[in-house]
């Protein structure tokens, strides 16, 4: 799957009006920046700190022809396929997790030749984002060498000019859009994340446009009180939106645990009724509501509260 090269990617950044000002906006406006055909890189990992509210809004706005990349892709990938919003997926792994079995939707689409599925190793894809973040065309690595992954991706081997060893070069990836969910941000887009950093900072720096949802928008003085906790500077962010429970029913470290019962109900439905159940899910959770608040109401206060307690039990109060 194609990506801008590092020269085009930088020119694109330079051509964009850069702002260090206020970027606080609504989810609708922020996600409205996504265009048909864009490559969207998704922050978080699997069902941890996924920008689900933003992804649901992308679907609600009816985007088409997208490419999605994510280091480990969860059922959000199924929702995009069911919505026919996506042409290509780039990942190192696609599933929910061990207890919930293989993704039937992915199987149908790939086995039926209906989607481009490009697979990398976990580190391989991570280094693609990192090369992008660094503004270089590639990074050298020892991973992926010798495997058949080399043959199905745009990697190269080279002889190291310093050592003569064989290296794998993974090309930089420059997505059009990064969708990220963080713990807190100020209105200028300076972001802080608790717990796992995942690949969010690399994705933010690599992308041409960065859309952030945050559990909480805090006063800029709160960010400035602990600048060593900031992981994404406002300088690279285009839009920021306050979205409490913006990852739900995926988890947000320290705040709420993933709702495993929800995963179970979803996969049970797919097992029972086939991938039509994915369409039903999209109907109910994407198009059946008009906002993230209505979406959360489908889960109910009690469940949100319960998952908050689960997180606190596990990691202690914040």
């Amino acid at each position: 799957m194609k990506s801008a090269d590092f020269v085009e990617a930088r020119r694109r950044l330079e051509a964009k009006p850069q702002s260090t000002g206020d970027k606080l906006t609504t989810l609708t406006e922020a996600v409205g920046r996504v265009r048909d055909g864009d490559h969207i890189a998704i922050g978080g990992c699997l069902f941890s700190r996924s920008p689900l509210a933003a992804l649901m809004e992308v679907l609600r706005q009816g985007r088409r022809g997208l490419t999605l990349s994510r280091n480990l892709m969860c059922y959000e990938g199924e929702l995009f396929m069911a919505s026919k919003a996506v042409d290509g997926l780039m990942t190192s792994w696609f599933d929910i997790a061990l207890p919930w079995g293989l993704s039937l939707k992915l199987r149908e689409e790939v086995e039926g030749g209906r989607i481009r599925f490009e697979e990398w190793s976990h580190l391989g894809l991570g280094l693609r984002y990192r090369a992008g973040a660094m503004g270089v065309p590639f990074l050298p690595t020892l991973t992926m060498l010798g495997s058949d992954l080399m043959g199905v991706t745009d990697t190269r081997t080279m002889e190291c000019p310093f050592t003569g060893e064989t290296l794998c070069l993974v090309p930089a990836l420059f997505p059009e859009v990064a969708l990220l969910h963080v713990h807190r941000a100020d209105r200028f887009g300076n972001c802080q994340i608790d717990g796992y950093p995942h690949m969010d900072t690399d994705i933010a720096k690599a992308a041409a446009a960065v859309i952030v949802t945050a559990e909480e928008i805090v006063d800029e003085e709160e960010i400035r009180r602990q600048p060593d906790r900031t992981v994404i500077p406002g300088l690279v962010v285009d839009a920021v939106v306050e979205v409490p429970y913006g990852s739900f029913p995926h988890e947000c470290y320290g705040l709420y645990e993933a709702d495993f019962a929800h995963f179970e109900a979803y996969t049970d439905a797919v097992k029972a009724r086939g991938t039509g159940a994915v369409n039903d899910y999209v109907e109910r959770y994407v198009h059946g509501v008009s906002s993230h608040e209505e979406y959360l109401a489908l889960f109910g206060e009690e469940v949100l509260e319960r998952q908050r307690r689960c997180a606190e039990e596990l990691l202690g109060p914040r």
């Binding site: 990992c45 699997l46 069902f47 941890s48 280091n71 480990l72 990942t91 190192s92 792994w93 696609f94 599933d95 997790a97 061990l98 207890p99 293989l102 993704s103 992915l106 199987r107 790939v110 086995e111 030749g113 599925f117 697979e119 190793s121 976990h122 580190l123 391989g124 991570g126 280094l127 984002y129 990192r130 690595t141 020892l142 991973t143 992926m144 060498l145 010798g146 495997s147 058949d148 992954l149 199905v152 081997t157 060893e165 064989t166 290296l167 794998c168 717990g195 796992y196 950093p197 995942h198 690949m199 900072t201 690399d202 988890e251 470290y253 320290g254 645990e257 997180a311 596990l314 990691l315």
Partner: protein, 253 residues
């Protein structure tokens, strides 16, 4: 004390971690084994999980389902990013890695991508995740898996994670300077590689398992040494500790 196949596998894998400083483990049996090792023969073992957790203390009954959720993090020593976690392995800091796969061949190559043709597969599997990286970068990797004929195949449909490739020095020649696959640990016994040609052979049998049984469950010929050692059965202590780690048997089946 009786035990299930999965419990046996977990106990045997845990024993492999005696004296080990760090283990790169995925969720399920590998992680349960690592926690068991910490509580038995390897108290200083640092568990590393690819989602970005070093040295966590897993909470019994709250074991993680994935490598990057907060259940994987309690009281960790460090939470590096995912890419940086793998780079610790690339630099050479990580001692042992545990991996698995849907198919494994006589050279220890693993497939977790597709069954059948790559472009139009019969079964599309989840993919490498970190398996390719772990087997390419850790010092020593062990494959931990149930022993089934459909899994142990003469040739994998796709090399997702490279073992010894076509044997001999082909792994080194591909640029994989570091790391090695040291052993396959299954619920029937352990398999190891010939130091020259790098093909798998039987190394040891678990209690009550016959050579024939192993061969029947392996889709290719396994050389058998003259005297095959037999594994010490899981002790009551080991089993009790194991069961206390996963009391709801989410992973022990």
């Amino acid at each position: 004390m009786s035990y299930s196949d999965t419990e046996l596998l977990a106990v045997v894998a845990a024993r492999q971690l005696a004296g080990v400083t760090s283990v790169f483990a995925g969720v399920g049996v590998p992680l349960v084994s690592a926690v068991l090792a910490q509580k038995t023969r390897a108290p200083q073992l640092v568990i590393v999980v690819e989602g970005g957790s070093m040295g966590p203390r897993m909470v019994p009954g709250r074991l993680p389902y994935s490598t990057n959720e907060m259940r994987t993090a309690p009281r960790a020593q460090m939470l590096p990013g995912i890419t940086d976690t793998f780079l610790f392995a690339q630099r050479g800091f990580l001692d042992v890695g545990f991996v698995g796969g849907a198919q494994i061949d006589p050279y220890g190559n693993l497939n977790s991508s597709v069954i059948g043709n790559y472009e139009r597969p019969k079964v599309r599997l989840p993919g490498s995740g970190g398996a390719n990286d772990i087997i390419s970068l850790c010092r020593r990797v062990m494959v931990v898996t149930m022993h089934e004929r459909r899994r142990f195949v003469p040739k994998v449909d796709f090399v997702t994670s490279p073992g010894f490739l076509s044997g001999g020095d082909s792994r080194r020649k591909a640029g994989l300077v570091f790391g090695t696959v040291s052993r396959i640990v299954t619920h029937l016994g352990t398999l190891a590689f010939d130091p020259e040609c790098r093909r798998l052979g039987l190394e040891s049998l678990h209690p009550g398992v016959t050579v024939q049984q192993v061969q029947d469950n392996t889709g290719f010929e396994l050389p058998v040494p003259k005297d095959v050692p037999v594994t010490e059965p899981p002790s009551v202590e080991e089993l009790k500790t194991l069961r206390s780690i996963d009391p709801e048997r989410n992973f022990l089946g």
